[in-house]
Assembly symmetry: C2
Homo-oligomer: 311 residues x 2
Protein backbone atom coordinates (compact mmCIF):
# COMPACT_ATOMS: atom_id res chain seq x y z
CA UNK A 1 0.00 0.00 0.00
CA UNK A 2 1.36 3.42 -0.85
CA UNK A 3 1.55 6.24 1.65
CA UNK A 4 -0.77 9.10 0.82
CA UNK A 5 0.81 12.50 0.67
CA UNK A 6 -2.37 14.30 -0.33
CA UNK A 7 -3.81 15.32 3.04
CA UNK A 8 -2.19 17.44 5.64
CA UNK A 9 -2.09 15.55 8.90
CA UNK A 10 -4.16 16.94 11.75
CA UNK A 11 -1.82 16.18 14.64
CA UNK A 12 -3.69 18.13 17.36
CA UNK A 13 -6.94 16.23 16.75
CA UNK A 14 -5.21 12.87 16.98
CA UNK A 15 -3.40 13.87 20.16
CA UNK A 16 -6.62 15.11 21.76
CA UNK A 17 -8.39 11.88 20.87
CA UNK A 18 -5.54 9.73 22.24
CA UNK A 19 -5.52 11.64 25.52
CA UNK A 20 -9.26 11.26 25.83
CA UNK A 21 -9.04 7.54 25.03
CA UNK A 22 -6.49 6.98 27.77
CA UNK A 23 -8.66 8.87 30.27
CA UNK A 24 -11.84 7.03 29.35
CA UNK A 25 -10.24 3.60 29.43
CA UNK A 26 -8.54 4.21 32.78
CA UNK A 27 -11.75 5.53 34.32
CA UNK A 28 -13.73 2.51 33.09
CA UNK A 29 -11.12 0.03 34.32
CA UNK A 30 -10.89 1.65 37.76
CA UNK A 31 -14.64 1.58 37.98
CA UNK A 32 -14.69 -2.09 36.98
CA UNK A 33 -11.88 -2.99 39.37
CA UNK A 34 -13.40 -1.23 42.36
CA UNK A 35 -10.37 -1.71 44.62
CA UNK A 36 -7.17 -0.29 43.08
CA UNK A 37 -6.45 2.97 41.27
CA UNK A 38 -4.12 3.86 38.44
CA UNK A 39 -1.01 5.78 39.35
CA UNK A 40 0.34 8.06 36.69
CA UNK A 41 4.06 8.16 35.91
CA UNK A 42 4.71 11.08 33.61
CA UNK A 43 8.11 11.23 31.93
CA UNK A 44 10.01 13.50 29.60
CA UNK A 45 13.09 12.82 27.51
CA UNK A 46 15.65 15.63 27.55
CA UNK A 47 15.32 17.96 24.52
CA UNK A 48 18.91 17.29 23.44
CA UNK A 49 18.48 13.52 23.06
CA UNK A 50 17.97 11.87 19.66
CA UNK A 51 14.53 10.67 20.75
CA UNK A 52 12.56 13.52 22.34
CA UNK A 53 9.12 13.59 23.82
CA UNK A 54 7.02 12.82 26.81
CA UNK A 55 4.53 10.34 28.07
CA UNK A 56 2.13 9.29 30.78
CA UNK A 57 2.44 5.65 31.84
CA UNK A 58 -0.52 4.67 34.02
CA UNK A 59 -0.30 1.51 36.04
CA UNK A 60 -2.77 -0.26 38.30
CA UNK A 61 -1.33 -3.15 40.28
CA UNK A 62 -2.81 -5.51 42.85
CA UNK A 63 -6.43 -4.78 42.01
CA UNK A 64 -9.46 -6.94 42.72
CA UNK A 65 -10.13 -7.65 39.05
CA UNK A 66 -6.83 -6.63 37.47
CA UNK A 67 -3.60 -8.05 38.83
CA UNK A 68 -1.80 -5.61 36.58
CA UNK A 69 -3.13 -3.06 34.09
CA UNK A 70 -0.99 -0.64 32.10
CA UNK A 71 -2.33 2.13 29.86
CA UNK A 72 0.44 4.25 28.38
CA UNK A 73 0.37 7.40 26.29
CA UNK A 74 3.53 8.51 24.52
CA UNK A 75 4.32 11.39 22.19
CA UNK A 76 7.82 11.35 20.77
CA UNK A 77 9.72 12.90 17.91
CA UNK A 78 13.13 12.21 16.43
CA UNK A 79 15.54 13.36 13.79
CA UNK A 80 15.56 10.13 11.82
CA UNK A 81 12.94 7.43 11.39
CA UNK A 82 14.36 4.19 12.85
CA UNK A 83 15.46 1.52 10.32
CA UNK A 84 12.55 -0.74 11.33
CA UNK A 85 10.12 1.97 10.18
CA UNK A 86 11.76 2.60 6.82
CA UNK A 87 12.74 -0.93 5.75
CA UNK A 88 9.53 -1.24 3.72
CA UNK A 89 9.65 2.33 2.39
CA UNK A 90 13.23 3.46 1.72
CA UNK A 91 11.90 6.74 0.29
CA UNK A 92 11.28 7.91 3.88
CA UNK A 93 14.76 7.04 5.11
CA UNK A 94 16.39 9.96 6.85
CA UNK A 95 13.15 11.86 7.52
CA UNK A 96 12.35 13.29 10.90
CA UNK A 97 9.21 11.94 12.55
CA UNK A 98 6.54 12.43 15.11
CA UNK A 99 4.91 9.37 16.71
CA UNK A 100 2.11 9.21 19.22
CA UNK A 101 0.03 6.41 20.58
CA UNK A 102 -1.79 4.65 23.37
CA UNK A 103 -0.80 1.12 24.41
CA UNK A 104 -2.61 -1.04 26.88
CA UNK A 105 -2.12 -4.48 28.41
CA UNK A 106 -4.50 -5.92 31.02
CA UNK A 107 -3.62 -8.95 33.13
CA UNK A 108 -6.71 -9.96 35.10
CA UNK A 109 -6.44 -11.98 38.30
CA UNK A 110 -9.17 -14.54 37.55
CA UNK A 111 -7.93 -17.14 35.01
CA UNK A 112 -11.37 -17.17 33.40
CA UNK A 113 -10.95 -13.53 32.36
CA UNK A 114 -8.76 -13.13 29.26
CA UNK A 115 -5.68 -10.97 29.01
CA UNK A 116 -5.97 -8.26 26.38
CA UNK A 117 -3.83 -5.77 24.50
CA UNK A 118 -4.59 -2.64 22.51
CA UNK A 119 -2.37 -0.26 20.61
CA UNK A 120 -3.32 2.72 18.47
CA UNK A 121 -0.65 4.93 16.97
CA UNK A 122 -0.08 7.71 14.50
CA UNK A 123 3.13 8.58 12.69
CA UNK A 124 4.14 11.55 10.60
CA UNK A 125 7.40 11.56 8.61
CA UNK A 126 8.58 15.06 7.78
CA UNK A 127 11.26 16.67 5.64
CA UNK A 128 11.87 20.36 4.92
CA UNK A 129 10.27 21.28 1.60
CA UNK A 130 8.33 18.01 1.27
CA UNK A 131 4.73 17.14 2.03
CA UNK A 132 4.46 15.24 5.31
CA UNK A 133 3.76 11.52 5.02
CA UNK A 134 1.53 10.04 7.68
CA UNK A 135 -0.04 6.72 8.66
CA UNK A 136 -1.99 5.04 11.43
CA UNK A 137 -1.51 1.61 12.93
CA UNK A 138 -2.74 -0.62 15.70
CA UNK A 139 -5.55 -2.83 16.83
CA UNK A 140 -6.51 -5.11 19.70
CA UNK A 141 -6.30 -8.82 20.48
CA UNK A 142 -7.60 -11.17 23.17
CA UNK A 143 -5.70 -13.93 25.00
CA UNK A 144 -8.07 -16.24 26.87
CA UNK A 145 -6.89 -18.98 29.22
CA UNK A 146 -10.12 -20.96 29.01
CA UNK A 147 -12.35 -21.61 25.99
CA UNK A 148 -15.69 -19.76 25.92
CA UNK A 149 -17.24 -19.60 22.49
CA UNK A 150 -19.66 -16.81 23.40
CA UNK A 151 -16.74 -14.62 24.52
CA UNK A 152 -14.87 -15.20 21.27
CA UNK A 153 -17.96 -14.46 19.20
CA UNK A 154 -18.77 -11.29 21.14
CA UNK A 155 -15.16 -10.08 20.82
CA UNK A 156 -14.96 -10.59 17.07
CA UNK A 157 -18.52 -9.37 16.44
CA UNK A 158 -17.77 -6.09 18.21
CA UNK A 159 -14.55 -5.73 16.22
CA UNK A 160 -16.35 -6.45 12.99
CA UNK A 161 -19.19 -4.00 13.70
CA UNK A 162 -16.63 -1.27 14.43
CA UNK A 163 -14.84 -1.84 11.13
CA UNK A 164 -18.00 -2.29 9.07
CA UNK A 165 -19.24 1.12 10.19
CA UNK A 166 -16.19 2.63 8.46
CA UNK A 167 -15.90 0.51 5.31
CA UNK A 168 -17.06 -2.80 3.88
CA UNK A 169 -13.82 -4.56 3.11
CA UNK A 170 -11.86 -3.59 6.18
CA UNK A 171 -12.69 -6.24 8.79
CA UNK A 172 -11.39 -9.39 7.04
CA UNK A 173 -8.05 -7.77 6.29
CA UNK A 174 -7.52 -6.52 9.85
CA UNK A 175 -8.64 -9.86 11.29
CA UNK A 176 -6.19 -11.77 9.10
CA UNK A 177 -3.33 -9.36 9.78
CA UNK A 178 -3.91 -9.85 13.53
CA UNK A 179 -3.87 -13.67 13.25
CA UNK A 180 -0.63 -13.48 11.30
CA UNK A 181 1.09 -11.02 13.60
CA UNK A 182 0.30 -12.57 16.98
CA UNK A 183 1.80 -15.94 16.19
CA UNK A 184 4.46 -17.79 18.19
CA UNK A 185 6.37 -19.59 15.48
CA UNK A 186 8.50 -21.56 17.96
CA UNK A 187 5.32 -22.93 19.59
CA UNK A 188 3.18 -23.32 16.48
CA UNK A 189 0.30 -21.47 18.14
CA UNK A 190 -1.29 -18.02 18.11
CA UNK A 191 -0.98 -15.80 21.18
CA UNK A 192 -4.74 -15.85 21.62
CA UNK A 193 -7.85 -15.58 19.45
CA UNK A 194 -6.76 -12.41 17.66
CA UNK A 195 -8.92 -9.41 16.86
CA UNK A 196 -7.83 -6.46 14.72
CA UNK A 197 -4.44 -5.24 13.54
CA UNK A 198 -3.35 -2.79 10.86
CA UNK A 199 -0.20 -0.90 9.96
CA UNK A 200 0.80 1.74 7.40
CA UNK A 201 -2.87 2.68 7.22
CA UNK A 202 -3.82 5.75 5.17
CA UNK A 203 -6.58 4.42 2.94
CA UNK A 204 -8.97 7.00 1.53
CA UNK A 205 -7.17 9.87 3.19
CA UNK A 206 -6.78 11.28 6.67
CA UNK A 207 -10.44 11.65 7.66
CA UNK A 208 -11.34 8.06 6.75
CA UNK A 209 -8.18 6.61 8.30
CA UNK A 210 -8.62 8.55 11.53
CA UNK A 211 -12.24 7.36 11.59
CA UNK A 212 -11.06 3.75 11.44
CA UNK A 213 -8.55 4.20 14.25
CA UNK A 214 -11.23 5.92 16.34
CA UNK A 215 -13.60 3.06 15.63
CA UNK A 216 -10.96 0.60 16.85
CA UNK A 217 -10.07 2.56 19.98
CA UNK A 218 -13.67 3.39 20.85
CA UNK A 219 -14.89 -0.20 20.45
CA UNK A 220 -12.32 -1.64 22.83
CA UNK A 221 -14.27 -1.23 26.06
CA UNK A 222 -17.55 -2.59 24.58
CA UNK A 223 -15.58 -5.54 23.21
CA UNK A 224 -13.77 -6.37 26.44
CA UNK A 225 -15.78 -5.29 29.47
CA UNK A 226 -18.79 -7.59 28.93
CA UNK A 227 -16.38 -10.54 28.96
CA UNK A 228 -14.86 -9.34 32.23
CA UNK A 229 -18.37 -8.93 33.63
CA UNK A 230 -19.32 -12.47 32.66
CA UNK A 231 -16.21 -14.27 33.98
CA UNK A 232 -14.70 -12.34 36.88
CA UNK A 233 -16.85 -13.95 39.55
CA UNK A 234 -16.28 -17.54 38.36
CA UNK A 235 -14.65 -19.50 41.20
CA UNK A 236 -11.25 -21.00 40.45
CA UNK A 237 -8.54 -22.94 42.26
CA UNK A 238 -4.85 -23.76 42.05
CA UNK A 239 -5.33 -25.77 38.85
CA UNK A 240 -6.73 -22.80 36.92
CA UNK A 241 -4.20 -20.40 38.46
CA UNK A 242 -1.32 -22.67 37.51
CA UNK A 243 -2.58 -22.92 33.92
CA UNK A 244 -2.94 -19.14 33.72
CA UNK A 245 0.64 -18.63 34.97
CA UNK A 246 2.05 -21.14 32.49
CA UNK A 247 0.13 -19.52 29.62
CA UNK A 248 1.41 -16.13 30.73
CA UNK A 249 4.85 -17.58 30.02
CA UNK A 250 3.80 -17.78 26.37
CA UNK A 251 2.76 -14.14 26.54
CA UNK A 252 6.26 -13.22 27.73
CA UNK A 253 7.81 -15.35 25.00
CA UNK A 254 5.77 -13.63 22.31
CA UNK A 255 6.51 -10.13 23.55
CA UNK A 256 10.24 -10.60 24.05
CA UNK A 257 11.03 -12.89 21.11
CA UNK A 258 8.62 -11.88 18.34
CA UNK A 259 7.00 -8.50 19.00
CA UNK A 260 8.77 -6.00 16.77
CA UNK A 261 7.64 -3.01 18.83
CA UNK A 262 8.97 -4.40 22.10
CA UNK A 263 12.27 -5.50 20.60
CA UNK A 264 12.80 -2.27 18.75
CA UNK A 265 12.02 -0.26 21.88
CA UNK A 266 14.37 -2.24 24.12
CA UNK A 267 17.22 -2.40 21.63
CA UNK A 268 17.05 1.26 20.64
CA UNK A 269 17.03 2.85 24.06
CA UNK A 270 13.30 3.25 24.67
CA UNK A 271 11.94 3.58 28.19
CA UNK A 272 12.23 0.04 29.54
CA UNK A 273 9.65 0.28 32.33
CA UNK A 274 7.01 1.65 29.96
CA UNK A 275 7.74 -0.95 27.30
CA UNK A 276 7.77 -3.79 29.81
CA UNK A 277 4.51 -2.82 31.50
CA UNK A 278 3.17 -5.55 29.17
CA UNK A 279 4.92 -8.23 31.24
CA UNK A 280 2.54 -10.25 33.43
CA UNK A 281 2.88 -9.68 37.19
CA UNK A 282 3.47 -13.35 37.90
CA UNK A 283 4.53 -16.11 35.50
CA UNK A 284 5.54 -19.78 35.56
CA UNK A 285 7.48 -22.09 33.29
CA UNK A 286 7.49 -25.87 33.70
CA UNK A 287 9.20 -28.38 31.44
CA UNK A 288 6.93 -29.76 28.75
CA UNK A 289 3.72 -28.93 30.63
CA UNK A 290 0.81 -30.48 28.71
CA UNK A 291 -2.88 -30.30 29.59
CA UNK A 292 -4.85 -33.50 30.14
CA UNK A 293 -6.50 -34.69 26.90
CA UNK A 294 -10.18 -33.75 26.81
CA UNK A 295 -9.77 -30.98 29.43
CA UNK A 296 -10.82 -27.35 28.87
CA UNK A 297 -7.12 -26.47 28.87
CA UNK A 298 -6.51 -28.90 26.01
CA UNK A 299 -9.53 -27.50 24.15
CA UNK A 300 -8.00 -24.04 24.31
CA UNK A 301 -4.87 -25.31 22.57
CA UNK A 302 -6.60 -27.36 19.90
CA UNK A 303 -9.62 -25.16 19.13
CA UNK A 304 -8.68 -21.58 20.05
CA UNK A 305 -4.99 -21.04 19.37
CA UNK A 306 -5.14 -21.37 15.59
CA UNK A 307 -6.62 -18.78 13.22
CA UNK A 308 -10.38 -19.40 12.99
CA UNK A 309 -13.43 -17.61 11.69
CA UNK A 310 -15.58 -16.97 14.76
CA UNK A 311 -18.52 -15.24 13.06
CA UNK B 1 41.21 -14.86 15.70
CA UNK B 2 41.63 -17.24 12.78
CA UNK B 3 40.26 -20.77 12.74
CA UNK B 4 42.97 -23.40 12.77
CA UNK B 5 42.78 -25.99 10.07
CA UNK B 6 45.93 -27.83 11.09
CA UNK B 7 44.62 -30.45 13.49
CA UNK B 8 42.09 -33.12 12.78
CA UNK B 9 39.24 -32.83 15.26
CA UNK B 10 38.77 -35.72 17.65
CA UNK B 11 34.99 -35.81 17.78
CA UNK B 12 34.59 -39.07 19.74
CA UNK B 13 36.75 -37.82 22.61
CA UNK B 14 34.76 -34.59 22.91
CA UNK B 15 31.47 -36.46 22.82
CA UNK B 16 32.63 -38.90 25.48
CA UNK B 17 33.76 -36.06 27.72
CA UNK B 18 30.47 -34.15 27.26
CA UNK B 19 28.42 -37.25 28.16
CA UNK B 20 30.55 -37.81 31.22
CA UNK B 21 30.23 -34.16 32.24
CA UNK B 22 26.44 -34.30 32.05
CA UNK B 23 26.40 -37.50 34.15
CA UNK B 24 28.76 -36.15 36.78
CA UNK B 25 26.96 -32.82 37.13
CA UNK B 26 23.53 -34.44 37.38
CA UNK B 27 24.75 -36.94 39.98
CA UNK B 28 26.31 -34.16 42.08
CA UNK B 29 23.20 -31.97 41.88
CA UNK B 30 20.86 -34.84 42.83
CA UNK B 31 23.11 -35.63 45.72
CA UNK B 32 23.12 -31.99 46.82
CA UNK B 33 19.36 -31.65 46.39
CA UNK B 34 18.51 -34.78 48.33
CA UNK B 35 14.81 -34.71 47.48
CA UNK B 36 14.15 -34.62 43.73
CA UNK B 37 15.69 -36.58 40.85
CA UNK B 38 16.43 -35.67 37.26
CA UNK B 39 14.16 -37.10 34.63
CA UNK B 40 15.72 -37.67 31.24
CA UNK B 41 13.89 -36.64 28.07
CA UNK B 42 15.77 -38.10 25.12
CA UNK B 43 14.85 -36.81 21.69
CA UNK B 44 15.82 -37.40 18.10
CA UNK B 45 15.21 -35.23 15.05
CA UNK B 46 14.08 -37.19 11.97
CA UNK B 47 17.01 -38.00 9.61
CA UNK B 48 15.35 -36.18 6.69
CA UNK B 49 15.13 -32.79 8.45
CA UNK B 50 17.62 -29.99 7.75
CA UNK B 51 18.80 -30.12 11.37
CA UNK B 52 19.46 -33.73 12.41
CA UNK B 53 20.62 -35.19 15.66
CA UNK B 54 19.63 -36.20 19.13
CA UNK B 55 19.82 -35.13 22.68
CA UNK B 56 19.15 -35.84 26.31
CA UNK B 57 17.43 -33.03 28.21
CA UNK B 58 17.53 -33.73 31.95
CA UNK B 59 15.24 -31.77 34.21
CA UNK B 60 14.84 -31.69 37.97
CA UNK B 61 11.83 -29.69 39.19
CA UNK B 62 10.43 -29.04 42.63
CA UNK B 63 13.53 -30.07 44.55
CA UNK B 64 14.53 -29.10 48.06
CA UNK B 65 17.52 -27.02 46.95
CA UNK B 66 16.74 -26.56 43.24
CA UNK B 67 13.35 -25.24 42.19
CA UNK B 68 14.35 -26.06 38.64
CA UNK B 69 17.57 -27.49 37.21
CA UNK B 70 18.14 -28.32 33.56
CA UNK B 71 21.23 -30.08 32.19
CA UNK B 72 20.97 -30.73 28.47
CA UNK B 73 23.20 -32.62 26.06
CA UNK B 74 22.68 -32.17 22.35
CA UNK B 75 24.48 -33.52 19.29
CA UNK B 76 23.25 -32.16 15.99
CA UNK B 77 24.44 -31.87 12.44
CA UNK B 78 23.19 -29.93 9.46
CA UNK B 79 23.80 -29.29 5.79
CA UNK B 80 24.60 -25.61 6.15
CA UNK B 81 26.04 -23.59 9.01
CA UNK B 82 23.39 -21.06 10.12
CA UNK B 83 23.98 -17.40 9.13
CA UNK B 84 24.65 -16.46 12.77
CA UNK B 85 27.63 -18.86 12.78
CA UNK B 86 29.16 -17.63 9.53
CA UNK B 87 28.59 -13.86 9.77
CA UNK B 88 32.09 -13.38 11.20
CA UNK B 89 33.72 -15.92 8.89
CA UNK B 90 32.14 -15.90 5.42
CA UNK B 91 34.73 -18.43 4.22
CA UNK B 92 32.73 -21.13 6.07
CA UNK B 93 29.41 -20.17 4.51
CA UNK B 94 27.66 -23.16 2.99
CA UNK B 95 29.64 -25.76 4.91
CA UNK B 96 27.95 -28.63 6.67
CA UNK B 97 28.52 -28.83 10.41
CA UNK B 98 28.45 -30.93 13.51
CA UNK B 99 27.71 -29.28 16.86
CA UNK B 100 27.64 -30.80 20.30
CA UNK B 101 27.41 -29.37 23.75
CA UNK B 102 26.17 -29.40 27.30
CA UNK B 103 24.04 -26.53 28.64
CA UNK B 104 22.95 -26.06 32.20
CA UNK B 105 20.80 -23.60 34.11
CA UNK B 106 20.12 -23.95 37.84
CA UNK B 107 17.37 -22.01 39.60
CA UNK B 108 17.71 -22.61 43.35
CA UNK B 109 14.78 -22.14 45.70
CA UNK B 110 16.55 -20.12 48.40
CA UNK B 111 17.09 -16.49 47.27
CA UNK B 112 20.49 -16.48 48.96
CA UNK B 113 21.72 -19.15 46.54
CA UNK B 114 22.69 -17.72 43.14
CA UNK B 115 21.32 -18.89 39.82
CA UNK B 116 23.99 -20.21 37.49
CA UNK B 117 24.51 -21.15 33.86
CA UNK B 118 27.11 -23.21 32.04
CA UNK B 119 27.56 -24.01 28.38
CA UNK B 120 30.37 -25.91 26.69
CA UNK B 121 30.21 -26.66 22.99
CA UNK B 122 32.24 -27.94 20.08
CA UNK B 123 31.65 -27.24 16.39
CA UNK B 124 33.14 -28.73 13.26
CA UNK B 125 32.50 -27.21 9.84
CA UNK B 126 33.05 -29.66 7.03
CA UNK B 127 33.23 -29.61 3.24
CA UNK B 128 34.12 -32.39 0.83
CA UNK B 129 37.76 -32.11 -0.16
CA UNK B 130 38.60 -29.51 2.50
CA UNK B 131 40.20 -29.85 5.92
CA UNK B 132 37.57 -29.64 8.67
CA UNK B 133 37.48 -26.38 10.63
CA UNK B 134 36.67 -26.70 14.33
CA UNK B 135 36.29 -24.55 17.39
CA UNK B 136 35.15 -24.65 21.01
CA UNK B 137 33.04 -22.19 22.93
CA UNK B 138 31.34 -21.67 26.23
CA UNK B 139 31.87 -20.79 29.85
CA UNK B 140 29.91 -20.22 33.03
CA UNK B 141 28.44 -17.26 34.87
CA UNK B 142 26.82 -16.60 38.25
CA UNK B 143 23.68 -14.56 39.01
CA UNK B 144 23.35 -13.83 42.72
CA UNK B 145 20.28 -12.17 44.24
CA UNK B 146 22.13 -11.00 47.35
CA UNK B 147 25.64 -9.61 47.69
CA UNK B 148 28.24 -11.88 49.33
CA UNK B 149 31.78 -10.90 48.58
CA UNK B 150 33.27 -14.23 49.66
CA UNK B 151 31.01 -16.03 47.16
CA UNK B 152 32.08 -13.75 44.33
CA UNK B 153 35.75 -14.15 45.19
CA UNK B 154 35.49 -17.94 45.45
CA UNK B 155 33.66 -18.11 42.11
CA UNK B 156 36.18 -16.03 40.21
CA UNK B 157 39.19 -17.57 41.96
CA UNK B 158 38.07 -21.06 40.95
CA UNK B 159 37.52 -19.85 37.38
CA UNK B 160 40.94 -18.23 37.32
CA UNK B 161 42.74 -21.27 38.72
CA UNK B 162 41.10 -23.44 36.07
CA UNK B 163 42.27 -21.16 33.25
CA UNK B 164 45.73 -20.54 34.69
CA UNK B 165 46.41 -24.28 34.72
CA UNK B 166 46.02 -24.24 30.93
CA UNK B 167 47.69 -20.96 29.98
CA UNK B 168 48.85 -17.68 31.49
CA UNK B 169 46.93 -15.11 29.49
CA UNK B 170 43.62 -16.89 29.21
CA UNK B 171 41.68 -15.84 32.33
CA UNK B 172 41.49 -12.04 31.81
CA UNK B 173 40.20 -12.45 28.27
CA UNK B 174 37.51 -14.97 29.20
CA UNK B 175 36.49 -12.87 32.22
CA UNK B 176 36.12 -9.75 30.08
CA UNK B 177 34.28 -11.56 27.31
CA UNK B 178 31.81 -12.86 29.91
CA UNK B 179 31.21 -9.38 31.37
CA UNK B 180 30.55 -8.03 27.89
CA UNK B 181 28.26 -10.82 26.76
CA UNK B 182 25.97 -11.08 29.79
CA UNK B 183 24.90 -7.45 29.73
CA UNK B 184 21.31 -6.13 29.62
CA UNK B 185 21.72 -3.00 27.56
CA UNK B 186 18.11 -1.88 28.15
CA UNK B 187 18.66 -2.05 31.93
CA UNK B 188 22.25 -0.81 32.03
CA UNK B 189 23.28 -3.75 34.21
CA UNK B 190 25.04 -7.10 33.89
CA UNK B 191 23.04 -10.31 34.33
CA UNK B 192 25.13 -11.24 37.33
CA UNK B 193 28.79 -11.19 38.37
CA UNK B 194 30.06 -12.98 35.26
CA UNK B 195 32.66 -15.71 35.14
CA UNK B 196 34.15 -17.18 31.96
CA UNK B 197 33.08 -17.03 28.33
CA UNK B 198 34.84 -17.82 25.07
CA UNK B 199 33.86 -18.43 21.48
CA UNK B 200 35.63 -19.47 18.25
CA UNK B 201 38.32 -20.99 20.45
CA UNK B 202 41.09 -23.01 18.74
CA UNK B 203 44.24 -21.44 20.18
CA UNK B 204 47.36 -23.60 20.09
CA UNK B 205 45.56 -26.46 18.42
CA UNK B 206 43.04 -29.11 19.34
CA UNK B 207 44.73 -30.62 22.38
CA UNK B 208 45.25 -27.27 24.12
CA UNK B 209 41.78 -25.99 23.24
CA UNK B 210 40.08 -29.17 24.44
CA UNK B 211 42.14 -28.91 27.63
CA UNK B 212 40.75 -25.43 28.22
CA UNK B 213 37.15 -26.50 27.67
CA UNK B 214 37.68 -29.46 29.99
CA UNK B 215 39.16 -27.13 32.58
CA UNK B 216 36.06 -24.95 32.35
CA UNK B 217 33.58 -27.82 32.51
CA UNK B 218 35.44 -29.69 35.24
CA UNK B 219 35.78 -26.60 37.46
CA UNK B 220 32.08 -25.81 37.45
CA UNK B 221 31.05 -27.97 40.41
CA UNK B 222 33.98 -26.82 42.63
CA UNK B 223 33.09 -23.21 41.72
CA UNK B 224 29.37 -23.50 42.44
CA UNK B 225 28.69 -26.18 45.05
CA UNK B 226 30.55 -24.53 47.97
CA UNK B 227 28.35 -21.44 47.46
CA UNK B 228 25.21 -23.59 47.57
CA UNK B 229 26.54 -25.28 50.68
CA UNK B 230 27.15 -21.95 52.39
CA UNK B 231 23.78 -20.30 51.57
CA UNK B 232 21.09 -22.90 51.17
CA UNK B 233 20.18 -23.08 54.85
CA UNK B 234 19.94 -19.31 55.33
CA UNK B 235 16.39 -18.44 56.48
CA UNK B 236 14.43 -16.10 54.23
CA UNK B 237 10.96 -14.61 54.02
CA UNK B 238 8.55 -13.05 51.54
CA UNK B 239 10.80 -10.00 51.06
CA UNK B 240 13.72 -12.08 49.81
CA UNK B 241 11.46 -14.33 47.74
CA UNK B 242 9.83 -11.31 46.09
CA UNK B 243 13.22 -9.83 45.22
CA UNK B 244 14.39 -13.16 43.79
CA UNK B 245 11.27 -13.40 41.58
CA UNK B 246 11.68 -9.83 40.33
CA UNK B 247 15.34 -10.42 39.51
CA UNK B 248 14.41 -13.62 37.72
CA UNK B 249 12.41 -11.33 35.43
CA UNK B 250 15.73 -9.80 34.38
CA UNK B 251 17.02 -13.29 33.67
CA UNK B 252 14.09 -13.88 31.33
CA UNK B 253 14.66 -10.50 29.68
CA UNK B 254 18.30 -11.30 29.01
CA UNK B 255 17.66 -14.76 27.64
CA UNK B 256 14.78 -13.78 25.35
CA UNK B 257 15.94 -10.34 24.22
CA UNK B 258 19.74 -10.54 24.10
CA UNK B 259 21.00 -14.12 24.19
CA UNK B 260 22.01 -15.01 20.65
CA UNK B 261 21.86 -18.75 21.27
CA UNK B 262 18.30 -18.67 22.61
CA UNK B 263 17.05 -16.37 19.87
CA UNK B 264 18.74 -18.31 17.12
CA UNK B 265 17.36 -21.57 18.46
CA UNK B 266 13.78 -20.31 18.76
CA UNK B 267 13.75 -18.51 15.44
CA UNK B 268 15.36 -21.34 13.47
CA UNK B 269 13.19 -24.21 14.58
CA UNK B 270 15.21 -25.60 17.48
CA UNK B 271 13.56 -27.68 20.19
CA UNK B 272 11.65 -25.08 22.23
CA UNK B 273 11.31 -27.00 25.48
CA UNK B 274 15.04 -27.76 25.58
CA UNK B 275 15.99 -24.19 24.75
CA UNK B 276 13.53 -22.75 27.28
CA UNK B 277 14.59 -25.00 30.13
CA UNK B 278 16.61 -21.89 31.07
CA UNK B 279 13.40 -20.03 32.04
CA UNK B 280 12.91 -19.71 35.79
CA UNK B 281 10.04 -21.75 37.27
CA UNK B 282 8.37 -18.69 38.77
CA UNK B 283 8.89 -15.02 37.91
CA UNK B 284 7.46 -11.62 38.79
CA UNK B 285 7.40 -8.21 37.14
CA UNK B 286 6.30 -5.06 38.97
CA UNK B 287 6.35 -1.53 37.58
CA UNK B 288 9.50 0.37 38.45
CA UNK B 289 10.34 -1.83 41.44
CA UNK B 290 13.31 -0.26 43.25
CA UNK B 291 15.09 -1.54 46.35
CA UNK B 292 15.30 0.63 49.45
CA UNK B 293 18.49 2.71 49.46
CA UNK B 294 21.13 1.17 51.71
CA UNK B 295 19.52 -2.29 51.62
CA UNK B 296 21.35 -5.47 50.54
CA UNK B 297 19.14 -5.49 47.44
CA UNK B 298 20.37 -1.99 46.54
CA UNK B 299 23.96 -3.04 47.17
CA UNK B 300 23.56 -5.85 44.65
CA UNK B 301 22.58 -3.33 41.98
CA UNK B 302 25.22 -0.75 42.72
CA UNK B 303 28.20 -2.96 43.60
CA UNK B 304 27.66 -6.32 41.87
CA UNK B 305 25.89 -5.75 38.57
CA UNK B 306 28.70 -3.87 36.85
CA UNK B 307 31.93 -5.43 35.59
CA UNK B 308 34.41 -5.58 38.47
CA UNK B 309 37.70 -7.23 39.28
CA UNK B 310 36.97 -9.56 42.19
CA UNK B 311 40.44 -10.95 42.71
Amino acid sequence: MSIAEADLPDVPSVEAWLRGLQDRICAALEDRDGAARFRSDTWRKPPDSTLRGNGDTRILEGGAVFERAGVALSLVDGDRLPPSATAARPELSGRGFRAMGVSLVLHPRNPYVPTTHLNVRYLVAEKAGATPVWWFGGGYDLTPYYPFKEDAVHWHQTARDACDAVGDSIYPRLKQHCDEYFYLKHRGETRGIGGLFCDDWNENGFAASFALIRAIGDSFLPAYLPIVERRTRTPYGERERDWQLLRRGRYVEFNLVWDRGTLFGLQSGGRSESILMSMPPEVRWRYDAQPEPGSPEAELLTDYLHPRDWL
